[in-house]
Symmetry: C2
Subunit: 148 residues, 2 copies
């Protein structure tokens, strides 16, 4: 009876995969996962979401300070993209000097949760990945014509 458990798991996974690639063998322009991943899968979006998740509400330069390493341009671009997708809300205060604040929308917060899941996976498995890389570097290289 324990077999069925594992088997069920597998079946579910396969079903999910089929769902994703359904009617989409070319996978180039209609797969939601690609579309979505393309948005927040980049270097800066993750950090931006993470930082906004941490502080709730931040001004442009505060954000810039927290993600240091990011250029002004990339932060602008990133925020625009996130805003466009409804993940981040921008509030403009027409004062002198001007003030603009950013915060996660509900949608953005739900994505944050998923990202944290992923981060968990990354954290739990980073050791193993590092080990794999070392192993690969030492003996797994492309031209190692090993057995079989």
């Amino acid at each position: 009876m324990e077999v069925t458990n594992a088997e069920n798991q597998k079946v579910k996974v396969l079903e999910k995969i089929e769902e994703i690639v359904a009617g989409n063998p070319l996978a180039d322009n209609c797969c939601p996962i690609k579309d979505i991943m393309g948005r927040f899968g980049d270097k800066w979006s993750v950090y931006t979401i993470l930082m906004l998740g941490r502080k709730q509400r931040l001004r442009f330069n505060e954000l810039k300070g927290l993600i240091s390493g990011i250029s002004q341009r990339m932060l602008t671009v990133t925020l625009r993209s996130l805003e466009e997708d409804g993940l981040v809300a921008r509030t403009i205060y027409t004062e002198i000097p001007p003030r603009v604040e950013y915060e996660l929308t509900e949608l953005g917060q739900s994505l944050l949760l998923k990202l944290l899941d992923l981060a968990d996976w990354a954290k739990q498995n980073s050791q193993q990945i590092m080990k794999a890389r070392k192993r690969y570097a030492s003996k797994g290289a492309p031209n190692t014509s090993s057995e079989v």
Copy 2:
């Protein structure tokens, strides 16, 4: 006393975030999430993992056919990267003609599960995102309020 539930949630999220960014305000070279995301967050890795998850074991050109749109070069590069990280195993059969088969490792399969989670999110929220994009395009744009 019911407040605590939602509050707890928030606290946990915050804790997780702190964990991730711990000792890493610059976030440029040591954050596991960036490192890992950088690996499989690209366009092709996701598909490759998905396809291998679906078919278990595939030859180079089979894979190439399934991910059509990918160039030979990118498939090679992608597979190397995944192999290096221990997510994909490569088996070489020294025959004529040569045969090479790829499959997910256990690690790769555990990542597959996470990717499916993400895909779920993407799927469930893609409508909302599309709506947000339309709204943004029509009225949220940077310069909407004024004319040149």
